[in-house]
Amino acid sequence: MFFHIVLERNMQLHPRHFGPHLRDKLVSKLMKDVEGTCSGRHGFVVAITGVEEIGKGLIREGTGFVTFPVKYQCVVFRPFKGEILEAVVTMVNKMGFFAEAGPVQIFVSNHLIPDDMEFQSGDMPNYTTSDGSVKIQKDSEVRLKIIGTRVDATEIFCIGTIKDDFLGVINDPGAAS
């Protein structure tokens, strides 16, 4: 799920940037530092949409670096248990398959794949129904439900299932071509 929230961060800036473009420099550094990172609490920071407030800088003794408290608005992506996501399959093996929904990695183990789909090994390992009408392989797009998330300080990993109504392949690249 996506959220638009306000976060705060203390930015350290090298004295060489102290000049007319200090603010720009600060913002670009903020983007570089924050976008794409993941915190267990808020999820993945997708994009910074604005800077709300830059507090008074504090010069650090010895180094000359200055610390600015910065409040910024950003879009974060945080997967939740029970959430339905669409994801792209990145890897298929006998134990199940891995998929990505943006920055989030999801594993769907084989017992959470419908019983009528069987694993086929080969160059392009895949799960296929007995009549061959549905196939899950690398780059397939699937809709899945998250049944568990593991949230570390800097990482979120999800377990998903496609064994439920309206879940499974939504676009098969192989079939299209």
């Binding site: 134990m95 199940g96 990695q105 183990s109 017992h111 959470l112 049944i147 568990g148 064994k163």
Partner: protein, 476 residues
């Protein structure tokens, strides 16, 4: 407020979940006379017939070793079925309850041994109906959910085991376990090939062909689920029945004692006023208070005449029909026990001794809704009537003397006066009937209970004759 539906719930739950629990001491040999299965059920049953009870008294009346009982009770405490309270009491035990607030409330109080009298820690326990209701519901929910989830292998996080070193992984570790050489997961320790852990519930089914095993497992799970629904049906029904009833509560030990003693004091009943004291004096008979409460309910009912009587016989017969089929499912020896418990207790009249008083209630399982309704109606009728009287009596007292406004003392005095005034009262009945009692507080369940307890005390103190009197003038 009726305990019976909840007591039935407790008894059903006891037989469903705690039937084959063995309470074992850590150092007790497994073989010896250690097989005490069923004790849990016995203890729970006994508790449904009591309120707060001193654990030694309970042990005595159950002919159990107090250590064994304590172990059982501790288990139930962990299961959240009962509330326990420990405190230090002087050997004499007198006046404890009045000093209860000051004295040690729980047994862990450090050292107060330098009090003049020697202090012993005594433990008390009682059922916690509200919590039991929740616990049983939760337990059943979990059981069903587990089976259902497993049945469609939904929402279960797959576990993996390394057959070499036994290390376990969950699907969350999948990323680290991928091997780029083959399509299996590999152990981080020994690089062994991990196997998905088959579900414990049907582990023994595994072995032959993958498909076959899976199918059979499903069947087994389905079977289990069905059995579960079937066997727990009485329990589920009882839960549904109890759902909207007010949950009976005893309050904390102190509050409960205070309530009772206040009642007793109001009655001028020197001995009965102090449950601790009386219990000290009479061994396990020391828990007479709780039973009294029940008795009074009985008395009130008998006042309501014929219609009421019908209901009682009805309610009495229904459990006979209802219980056996379920019991049989639980196992034969149990059935016998249950029957044995049921049969010897016919409808007991009010004159029976306090210990048994609670029993008839146990037996009357009001199963049908209408019966229940009728019962309730009659009950409330009696309740209102009584309250009216009490109201009136209180008024009288008010005139006589200044009254303090705390609600408890209010009620208690009221009840006393009722007792004192009893006969006089009859004459004025007509007058009371109209306006006066409208002013009175609505008959809340709580007050109702209190009143009954009061009435009970009277009964206890004055012996059976009083009951008769009561009934008489209620009809008059």
């Amino acid at each position: 407020m009726s305990f019976e539906p909840f007591n039935r719930l407790v008894r059903l739950a006891a037989r469903a979940f705690y039937d084959d629990i063995t309470m074992k001491g850590e150092n007790q040999p497994k073989t010896g006379r250690g097989d005490n299965r069923g004790i849990a059920v016995v203890v729970l049953d006994a508790l449904t017939k009591r309120q707060w009870v001193r654990e030694e008294d309970l042990a005595k009346s159950l002919r159990l070793h107090s250590k064994q009982l304590r172990r059982t009770l501790r288990f139930f405490e962990e299961e959240k079925l009962i509330t326990r309270d420990h405190r230090k009491e002087s050997a004499k035990g007198a006046k404890i309850y009045s000093a209860a607030a000051a004295a040690a409330i729980d047994g862990q109080v450090v050292k107060e041994g330098d009090e003049k009298i020697k202090m012993h820690t005594h433990s008390y326990c009682c059922l916690d109906y509200a919590q039991i209701f929740d616990v049983v519901r939760y337990r059943m929910h979990r059981m069903k959910k587990k089976l259902k989830d497993e049945l469609d292998s939904r929402n279960t996080i797959q576990q993996y085991i390394c057959p070499n070193c036994g290390r376990r992984y969950s699907a969350f570790d999948a990323l680290q376990l991928i091997s780029y050489t083959d399509e299996y997961f590999h152990c981080e320790n020994c690089n062994g090939e991990l196997v998905a852990e088959s579900d414990k519930l049907a582990a023994e089914e595994m072995g032959d062909g993958d498909d076959n095993a899976r199918k059979r497992r499903r069947e087994k799970l389905k079977d289990m689920l069905q059995k579960l629904e079937e066997q727990l049906k009485p329990l589920a029904q009882q839960l549904a029945r109890v759902k909207d009833l007010p949950v009976p509560e005893f309050g904390t030990l102190q509050a409960w004692e205070a309530k009772l003693s206040a009642v007793a004091r109001a009655n001028g009943d020197a001995n009965g006023g102090d449950p601790t004291k009386s219990s000290q004096g009479q061994g396990y008979g020391g828990t007479p208070m709780p039973f009294l409460g029940e008795t009074s309910v009985e008395v009130a009912l008998s006042g309501v005449e014929v219609k009421e009587e019908d209901t009682e016989t009805d309610t009495k017969t229904t459990p006979m029909k209802v219980l056996p089929p379920w019991m049989i499912k639980q196992g034969m020896n149990l059935t016998k026990e249950q029957r044995g418990e049921v049969k010897p207790v016919p409808k007991i009249d009010q004159s029976s001794e306090p210990v048994d008083d609670k029993k008839p209630k146990d037996i009357k399982e009001d199963d049908e809704k209408n019966i229940q309704d009728e019962y309730l109606k009659a009950y409330y009728e009696a309740l209102v009537k009584r309250q009216k009287e009490q109201e009136e009596a209180a008024r009288r007292i008010e005139q006589q003397q200044e009254e303090n406004r705390t609600s408890t003392s209010d009620q208690f005095t009221a009840s006393v006066s009722e007792r004192r005034v009893g006969m006089k009262f009859k004459r004025e009945e007509n007058e009371n009937d109209d306006v006066e009692w409208e002013e009175g507080p609505p008959p809340s369940v709580n007050t109702g209970e209190t009143f009954y307890k009061l009435a009970d005390l009277n009964v206890e103190a004055d012996a059976v004759a009083d009951d008769e009197d009561d009934i008489d003038w209620e009809e008059g």
